[in-house]
Amino acid sequence: MSAEDTHGSSVEVAARVERRWTAIAVIIIVAMALLAAFAGIHQATMPQPRVETTDPSRLHLSGEFVESNLGSMLEANGNVTVRAIGQQYSFTPACIVVPVDTPITLRATSADVVHGILIQGTNVNTMLVPGYISEQLMRFTRTGDYLMPCQEFCSFGHEGMWGKVKVVDKTNFANRAKAGGRLSCVGQ
């Protein structure tokens, strides 16, 4: 074999190895994308589908986020809706009470700057951007207290912006809900 030949074949080998690796890389990526699509569609773990707006300077005057409408509410179908707002440097309500093993819709917004809601030990995690309403579905499988810090810098008091979530059993929640109105665990 001449030197020319070995040179030619080594070029070929190199190109083949490289092509193979490229194929593996592409397969890894396609598999990842399919997995994400599957989880998103099949298990319905999609982010919030719709964009809803609201005027932060009028939150306290009218509409969904007036003070008397904040907190947890038992719906006719047994589900629960929680409405909350974030403002420098607290959440209202500061303590959210919800039943265990129940589909819950969290609807929240900000009254001033960007905040975030994160419930520790769960995958509940959303931004609160003033002007827009964040909606997240959640379901707790364990009763107990959870910390709920603000997860985005919102100016000099950010480190003090911690709320709480109290997950109680269903009968406890149903009893609390009997009186009507919006529930919270502030001061308990």
Partner: protein
Amino acid sequence: MLVNRKLILAHFWLAFGVFGVALTLGAWQMFIRSPIGTWLSNPELYYRSLTAHGTVMGYVFPTLVAMGFGYAIAESALEQRLVGVRWAWTGFWLIVVGSVMAVIPIALGRASVLYTFYPPLIGNLFYYLGVVLVVVGSWIWVALMSINLRVWRKAHPGAPVPLAMFANVAGSYLWAWTAVGAALELLLQIIPVAAGLKNTIDAGLARIFFSWTLHAIVYFWLMPTYIAYYTIVPRAIGGRVYSDAMARISFILFLVVAMPIGMHHTFADPQVGAGFKFIHSAFTALVALPTLLTVFTICASVEIAARLRGGRGMFGWIRALPWDNPMMLALAFSFVMLGFGGAGGLINMSYQLDTTIHNTQWITGHFHLIFGGAIVIMYFAIAYDLWPHLTGRELVDIRLIRTQLWLWFIGMIVTTFPWHWVGILGMPRRMAYFDFSDPAIAPQALSVTFSVIGGFILLASGIMFIIILARGMRAPQADAGAYRFALAVHQPTTVPVALNTHALWVALMIALTITNYGYPILNLATAAGTSVPAVYVGAQ
């Protein structure tokens, strides 16, 4: 042929000087918010420090490194004198003036908006103007890179552009275009409000503009590191680049797919619907491709070096590598950190998994590992490699260099692994203070303490780095010869036009940005009633 050494040295010294200051602030932040440092009576100081640390590490430091390295590449890879030296100095001074202008309001507590400056929080006007000047300074560099390449092409019609310059110019175009997002946010939205001309702002739109910058800026940070992987490492360890064409394809892919994916930073945001989030998530998967190709090509190039040194066997060649060579060490450390960081990145990019770690300390742990670790360790390596050529003096402290690299690697692992862990436990980021006496937070205390130790190791390593470079300025004179880049196994004599020019790919980059960003931006910009009152920092 490094003629304008002073220019390049000025960029590097300013870069590493501000890096040293910001590193010290970083170590202080880590310490002060930990269980062993609870005496901060004024939490506001933390946010001043954090704004300075983030602004310097995110904008000023990497930009200066890319610029200095870019000028070095333009002169040495093209083997021609830099065209536009006076403009280059103008760019440099714009960055100096911009940095000073930004840092004064930060130090006074008038611009504690952090480097992401999310409105409607609004800081002092001069902070934003300073950032704009830094970006404008860097745009001069982009123009110069393009002009210098054009001058070279005229003199060498049809010749393959040297890989280092091809990649460098690709990186500069990527930066020029990705900075447009933040520039639009600053010029159209924030600056009018900071100047008092308006008092409302669309916070959702601002976040979308910022996301346009926020992802691809990461690849701009990465560019010098990747250029070093391909064009310095193989030469420094006595190997060859496995494939010149594959290298070009990787840089082209970065240029095209790094841009239209930034909305993966807004998975948890209410102002974009699920559709565009999904599209950006899918495109994000694509951006792993150039990195996977790079890992292959670099490992293969390193293997060539080992076999040339007599390495044998399936894995036995690894022992034959020049492990006492700082470049080899830096590359190995960088790859290990890139591997761990990349695995973490796969978690961030999937919006199902992202919900558990979004805006937690996991994120800060993640980007310190990738950016502060995998990327910055190669900045060190670049500086060590170029220094003798810039100063005309030998770097004699090889042992010290090895120790410095080891410490950076160990420090980064010790800092970031526990940092990721507390993120999984749900510890939020950007907080000046944590109540570790709360039983729900107490379990995080030990991990945070480990991170503090890691932070001090990093600080020690950073100081060593600066000492080594400073001593290098005084070492005995020695001629280092011409600065050269690695050759490919098959050094190209001709390259297809598509792999030798950028125009097509720049057009594709812009087109993809428009398809992936055009509709959401128009939609938000034309929606009525989404502007909210500005909240001025320091006005409360």
